[in-house]
Structure formats: structure tokens, C-alpha cells
Symmetry: C2
Subunit: 192 residues, 2 copies
Amino acid sequence: MKDILFDFLSKYVSLTDDEKNALLALDIFRSVKKGTVLLQEGQKSKDSYFILKGCIRTYYLIDGEEKTTAFYTEMEVLTPPCVISKTPSEYYVGCLEDTILTVSNSDMEEETNRKFPKFETLCRVLSEELLAKQRIDFDAFKTSSPEQRYLNLIQKRPDLIQRVPQHQLASYLGIKPQSLSRLRARILEKKS
Amino acid sequence: MKDILFDFLSKYVSLTDDEKNALLALDIFRSVKKGTVLLQEGQKSKDSYFILKGCIRTYYLIDGEEKTTAFYTEMEVLTPPCVISKTPSEYYVGCLEDTILTVSNSDMEEETNRKFPKFETLCRVLSEELLAKQRIDFDAFKTSSPEQRYLNLIQKRPDLIQRVPQHQLASYLGIKPQSLSRLRARILEKKS
DNA sequence: CGTATTTCTTAACTTAAGTGAACAAGCGAT
DNA sequence: ATCGCTTGTTCACTTAAGTTAAGAAATACG
């Protein structure tokens, strides 16, 4: 379990045993049950998550309707915007499956960054990379139709289509569940 | 002109005169004419931009059509994804107006980060903040209709509606120029 | 088990965006 | 001042998504 974390981190910086132990001493590993809500709308939080196993999602409650905007699975990091802006959260974070993750709070990170400059570099590189990746995703979303987005999802994240309920996928694609059903039927028709 | 840059930076870190001079020594200020293309599709680049005055946009060329995905104006930073991924650019960067900006390349930044840890912190905080901001924008886009997006844009970036051509605004909103025209007529009708 | 709830699909109808085309206004360059 | 190109609007028509509703299938749970 620890290995998954360190394998991930080794892609960005190489850590000494001392540094690894410092990380482990923080006792950040958590196991949470499917259905758990990690963060509520309106709540303040300083926690970031790194998924070791399982799946979580972020969603808004708009006019009584859940709007899912992102999924995070194995080896992915989520720092909710409210942690950065220090304001109440605009969205919920919930577990779609039994999930193992690390929970680290921003005070802790500040301190670690001060103690080990290497971590500051890690955080900078990681967020630069996430920013670029998210920009590409955003652009792809803007420049394509719901159908193209769905076909793209099949290519890029085939696992999500298996493990996530359709109506959550639908709002992730920016449409209603009924439209996703129809769209899928349309694609099947074309193939034949 | 330098003051605009230092005012911006002072929101994140406080710089000594020595540090300021080190920055100025890099000679990063540029003045570019309206219409200039700063980055082409397929091109490799290490340059990031900070806009002091004017406006630039990023756009894709898809099936011979320009798809504008972002605008950057006064006090905004753009690091194209290709700079981070070190791969050829997927999009163009062009100037909508005569623009004054700084151009800094990533090698330069690496070095500055090594010399002044303060800059590393600056870069980390800035990209964390941009990541969070972009996430909020992306979510808002996904969870709203073209009409809501347009109304939202009037609230959040009224300047863009004045200074940017409609057809570029349209693709920024994820629709065709004709649809934007119609949508605006529809809104006017509702008001009366 | 079997019942309740959630999830998914289908269908008919409404609304809005995409498409193709025509036209007018604005702007830039000569 | 004029010619040409870019830009914005309008219209008729097509296509696809939103809405409302009903029912089937899968899943959760007592």
C-alpha cells in the first residue's frame, strides 16, 4: 500500500529513507466505505486526497439535482478548490466504491515543504502538470459534441464506463441521463 | 510597466531589491503587434507569458475551423501545456490586440527556482491557485447551458464581450457564432 | 427470499443548437 | 474612395438535447 504512494512520488522526486519515514510518520492512510461523503457543500476543509485503490467523485447539488463533474481513481490526486481559496466548499466529495486513500491537510504540507524543499518542488511540478492536463481536458470538452466526448471517454477512461453509474457519467459529459442512453443507442446503430 | 509585474508578484511573495533586479536582468519584457502568432500548432516551445497590457487567445484549428478555448488579459499568466509536457503544441497562441507581456522560458525558471527558493514557492502557489480556479470554471461550464454561460460571462468578464469578436466568443462558449447571435436576441426579448 | 429503491431505457413532445445560405455592416489596404 | 474580406445577423431547415412520463432491469436490504 505504501509502495503505491512511493512509486507514484518517485516519478517526480527521489526520496531518501528518512524522508519516506517522515511521510509515514504523518499517518495519512485511510480506508473509507462506499457511500461515505468526504466533504460537504458549505464545509471548510484543508484536506487533499490521493487515491490508492477505489474511486471518488466531486458533485454539486443544483436545484436538487446532483451534477457530477469529476472522478478520481487509482494514482490520482484531488485538492478541492476550497482548500486553496480557504472558503466554504461549493461541492461534495463522495466515495463511489470502498476506497483506500491518503488524507493530508494543507498545514501539514506547509510544514513539510518548509522542512524538505524537495517536497515543495514535488508540489510545484505536480500542480503544473495537473494544470496542463486539466487545460487539455477542458479544451477537448469545449471543442466537441456530447457524442464525441463519450467516444473520447471510451478511449481515455474505459474503466469509468464500467465502474460508474450512467447518470453520473451523463452529467460528467454535460448532458442528461436520457440523452446518454439515446446517444449510446445511436452509436450502436451506426456501427451496424 | 515593471511595477505591474512586481505588484502582481507581491500578492504571492515579497521580493528584495536584489531579487527584483535579478528578474529585470533577464530582460523578459516584450511588445507585440495585434495579429502576431506567438505559438503555432506542432511547434515546441518553452515560453510562458504574463500579460501586462492587451489580450491574447489560445485556439485550435479543427477541420479548418478556429476553435478559441481561452483568453488571457491584464495580470494573467499562460503556460501552454506543451511547455509542461515537452511535446509539440496542440494549439495556437495569437494576439488579439497590441500587447505588452513578459516571455520567460522554462530553463530560465528552473535556474531561478534553484537560486531563489522563494520563486519556487511563488510558482507552486500560483499554479495551485490557477488549478483551483480553472477547476471551478470547468465545472461551471459543464453544469450550465450556453445561455447561462453567456450570462455568466457578462458578469465575470464583461470586458471580453467588448474587446473580443463574437465568433471567437462563441467557440469560447462552446457554440457556433449563429447560435450566439440567436441566443443574444433571445435574451433581449426576455428582458422586454 | 421478496420488496423497495435505484438505475437504465424507451417514447412522444418541446426547445435549442447545428447547418447552409444570403445579406448588411464594418474595416483594412491600396 | 473603393474594393475585398471579415464579421455579425437573420432565416429556413435539420439534428440533437431537454422534459415528462412510463416501465423494465438491476441492486440493496430487511
